[in-house]
């Protein structure tokens, strides 16, 4: 069995707020263990305050755990800065803020490759064209600025950038929530195809059960920092047994 891309072992996160004499602790994430395996899309469903954002940040190495440990490809994570350059990537919610407006599309896509420092200028150029094709965008878009692209196109560029270093893990944080409904389907189809082709481990955060069950292989329902329920994503096509999950299905307009 291949090593999971990312393993979380009893990972929890607590925040301490307030002045030293009136400290409050907030448990944003209760200890949980999770394996993110290659070629598998794990969906985390939750509302705001559920801990899903904290989980995403932990998996991206943007914050450190208060308890427990993470291992990326078997090594301690986050480890030495720069060691895992290019091994993980993210696609975030807001297409309007995802790309630097001062940079052309090809510059944004090339950035992770340049930072990883493993490819020549010419190799990077060729790969940018390859990536644009992979995300089903015309190669001519490479020399445009983000302002000239639609939300859906920008999201695809962000996906192209995320794929550029063939990462082992991609975190999608509400990646389709800001898109038109029909564009959502297209982008989700694309992500699904790429997952099969490229074989990255995927962590998809969303509040929308319809999106979760469509894109996910495995689903975790989170509530107030805790995993409330865990199931095969496809099970969400039927009314869930767990009451909270059932409530989320209704909130997403399903089974009303």
């Amino acid at each position: 069995m291949t090593l999971p891309a990312l393993t979380l072992t009893a990972v929890g996160k607590t925040y301490r707020m307030g002045p030293p004499w009136a400290r409050r602790t907030i448990e944003a994430l209760q200890p949980l263990s999770l394996n993110l395996a290659r070629g598998e899309m794990t969906v985390v469903i939750g509302e705001s305050g559920s801990g899903k954002t904290t989980l995403a940040k932990l998996c991206l190495g943007l914050i450190r755990p208060s308890t427990g440990s993470l291992a990326f490809n078997g090594e301690t994570f986050p480890g030495q800065p720069g060691r895992l350059r290019g091994r993980l990537a993210a696609v975030l919610q807001n297409p309007a803020a995802a790309l630097n407006p001062a940079l052309k599309v090809h510059q944004s896509i090339a950035e992770p490759m340049r930072l990883a420092g493993l490819m020549s200028h010419a190799e990077i150029g060729a790969r940018v064209a390859e990536l644009l094709e992979q995300v089903r965008l015309p190669v001519a878009l490479a020399s445009r600025f983000p302002a000239e692209l639609s939300g859906g196109q920008r999201q695809r560029v962000t996906i192209a950038r995320a794929l550029s270093t063939t990462p082992d893990l991609i975190v999608f944080d509400e990646a389709v929530s800001a898109l038109d409904v029909s564009v959502q389907a297209q982008v989700l189809n694309l992500i699904d195809d790429l997952k099969r082709q490229v074989g990255f481990a995927g962590l998809f955060i969303t509040h929308d059960v319809a999106v979760a069950r469509y894109i996910g292989d495995r689903a975790l329902v989170m509530r107030e920092g805790r995993v409330e329920a865990e199931m095969v994503a496809r099970d969400l096509y039927h009314p869930a047994e767990n009451l909270y999950a059932r409530g989320l299905q209704t909130a997403s307009g399903l089974f009303e």
Binding site: L84, G86, A90, A97, N100, A102, A116, A147, T165
Partner: protein
């Protein structure tokens, strides 16, 4: 960079045109002397405006036209030099404060606030008193006075940009804080910096004129618009043109710089981020 846009509003364009004319005259005068020699005695003292002396002469008989043209150049040059220094230093501090946040931000913020809390003229007089009155202390004064405003504006903009997804993305991809600041934050706050610089230049001119008017700035025989006003004070009842001409030119220059600042602001607000 994608190109600085300017408002198409007629007022802003007129102001920009006026400014260009004023600066051009200043430059022309300095290079060719076509407006006359600002230090030479051209005619009898205190002569009202006439065909031979369009702006009249001052108390020593020097051509006011020549002196005004030289003064425009001097005033604008001093303010611009000071604001350039303030902008470079202030932008660097503001960028770090806004991006890094935390303790660094607190320290820089406090320093800026302390400087800001001094009334501008008082600070300017203080600096002139510490150093020799002259062009150098005028520049120092304007620099210190406009520095806090630059830091504030840059800090606010940097904070807004630093939180954006594309900056987070570059950190995820392994970029260092310095890389993120230079490649992602700086280009996207450039617009605000330029607009702030424009406004600072006009404010700087007011300050410089103020100190020179008090006799603490530019010293004779050099002339700035403020020092011309200082020289003209005792002669106001006899030769009012000595006050009106520099005063009017000063007001017009400051007004047009402000309008150009507005025009730049409108142009940037049309665009992005």
């Amino acid at each position: 960079m994608r190109g600085i846009r300017f408002s198409r509003d007629p007022l802003s364009l007129a102001a920009a045109a006026l400014l260009v004319v004023l600066l051009f005259c200043g430059l022309l005068g300095a290079l060719t002397g076509v407006f006359g020699n600002p230090s030479a005695l051209a005619d009898l003292p205190l002569q009202p405006p006439s065909l031979s002396q369009p702006f009249g002469t001052d108390n020593l008989g020097r051509s006011l036209l020549a002196r005004t043209v030289a003064a425009i150049q001097q005033s604008v040059l001093l303010s611009t030099a000071a604001v350039l220094i303030a902008t470079i230093v202030g932008a660097a501090f503001g960028l770090v404060a806004g991006y890094v946040g935390g303790l660094v931000d607190d320290v820089i913020g406090r320093l800026a606030d302390t400087l800001f809390s001094f009334p501008a003229i008082v600070l300017a007089i203080l600096i002139s008193a510490l150093f020799q009155p002259g062009a150098a202390s005028a520049i120092a004064a304007v620099t210190l006075i406009t520095l806090p405003a630059v830091i504030r504006v840059v800090r606010a903009e940097a904070m807004a940009v630093a939180g954006r997804d594309y900056v987070v993305q570059s950190r995820i991809a392994g970029a260092s804080a310095l890389y993120a600041m230079i490649v992602h934050v700086a280009p996207n706050i450039l617009g605000a910096v330029i607009v702030q610089a424009a406004y600072s230049i006009s404010f700087g001119m007011i300050i410089e004129s103020g100190i020179s008017f008090l006799g603490l700035g530019v010293q004779p025989p050099a002339a700035s618009l403020g020092s011309l006003l200082f020289d003209a004070r005792p002669y106001l009842p006899l030769a009012p043109w000595l006050v009106f001409v520099p005063g009017l030119v000063l007001a017009l220059t400051i007004l047009s710089i402000n309008l150009v600042g507005d025009g730049l602001k409108a142009g940037f607000e049309g665009s992005d981020a």
